[in-house]
Symmetry: D2
Subunit: 139 residues, 4 copies
Amino acid sequence: MSKVVVYPVNVEFGDCDPAGIVFFPNFFRWYDASSRNFFRTCGVPAWRDTEKSHGIIGTPVVDIGSRFIQPATYGDKVEVHTSVVEWNAKTFVMLHQLKRDGVLLSEGRDTRVFAIRHPEDPARIKAIPIPEDIRELCS
Amino acid sequence: MSKVVVYPVNVEFGDCDPAGIVFFPNFFRWYDASSRNFFRTCGVPAWRDTEKSHGIIGTPVVDIGSRFIQPATYGDKVEVHTSVVEWNAKTFVMLHQLKRDGVLLSEGRDTRVFAIRHPEDPARIKAIPIPEDIRELCS
Amino acid sequence: MSKVVVYPVNVEFGDCDPAGIVFFPNFFRWYDASSRNFFRTCGVPAWRDTEKSHGIIGTPVVDIGSRFIQPATYGDKVEVHTSVVEWNAKTFVMLHQLKRDGVLLSEGRDTRVFAIRHPEDPARIKAIPIPEDIRELCS
Amino acid sequence: MSKVVVYPVNVEFGDCDPAGIVFFPNFFRWYDASSRNFFRTCGVPAWRDTEKSHGIIGTPVVDIGSRFIQPATYGDKVEVHTSVVEWNAKTFVMLHQLKRDGVLLSEGRDTRVFAIRHPEDPARIKAIPIPEDIRELCS
């Protein structure tokens, strides 16, 4: 059984487009906030601190998919239910289920890595093996 | 052969996160802008006009996926190469290839529908069969 | 004494720029969310409902200013304290004080109008006198 | 006479709100992009490079104001005309005039500083006197 951490979101007027429904890139913004909230809740420090301790600057997404089942609009209170559903050697997979009153509105699944600055070029990033201590905090 | 329409993007400081690279939901913002630019270039009017002529308020995404191959950062000039790769009865699939100097940085693929306001509840939306005239403009 | 309504914000990783601090347009996004939250808390319906009852589609900003006193970063929990500080014939002024642990980080002040669609051109908007019933709800 | 640098913007569907007009925080996003474009055009390197050469991580805004004269909507092509209108010891003021077909839609004015990381606390930032070489490039 994996941990599930719930992140609440107020859908705002400015999150919606001229059709009156959430502009879909905002779902990804919320999935990402929920991902960061998941780590924080599990006890993983801010990336500015892990940069000092582990060199880790974040968990960039290498692949993401989402389906959108029902639209949301401003005034809605929704929740993102986030968990890690897969740990691999260098990647892990998070599942984000966005619900309103228990009804699934969208579902995203992203593959991420733990990244450090590239030793030869600080403008690039480099994936490292999943840190054992972080994995334990999150399981 | 399907039409490919290219949408140029200047990557801005505010598009990047504390790791110094583009915050990934912005890629979806650019895919969407490129989708709208594709239709405009093919001669499809603004949605506020198709609402009057066809009832169509837009092309909401029902499913989207993207992989991120290389990061981008501010100052980069990138291009989204967009085409329709599949037309179905009620859905169609767009491919978005984001390139910098010809190198593929990310690739997104979304499934969309043409939507009208739901006849019984204007707060909801409803997919309609692909309009033949729009399909022809885009092929 | 005017009503003050407090809107809580979690500052997210994606809200911050490569300098590691909040990208300032997000402060305006939060002021606007807090403005809408103020009206909701006072009992003013969603704009999609006031459009039917009053023709009102929202409260566009005609002028806004903000000063930024201290930066915020991801992981911060902040609050926007919002009130109406001035009611005029056709405009009103809102004050937004953004605080972290009681310390003022930024302060915004916007002048807004209640807008309807322009009777001759639905693509334009038109300011109307402040509706008395809404003003009473908010005072 | 100060330099004026013009930054073009395509207004996108996702930049607009349920009223069908640009969600106003996006104007600030464009002012900021135009500010960065101004420096780039004048020959000032990316902040990641000035951090190495001068310690400068950017030009955070300490105060900004904007008035909104006419709304914009998706499909519009607009331009931000940006200049530095005031140089002080530690601050400078930029003017951003956003126009569509030569007509002024909005006007913003921001006061900025050149910032380095605070020597005692890298999480904080510190204003420095305007660098003479940068000022010369921009005048």
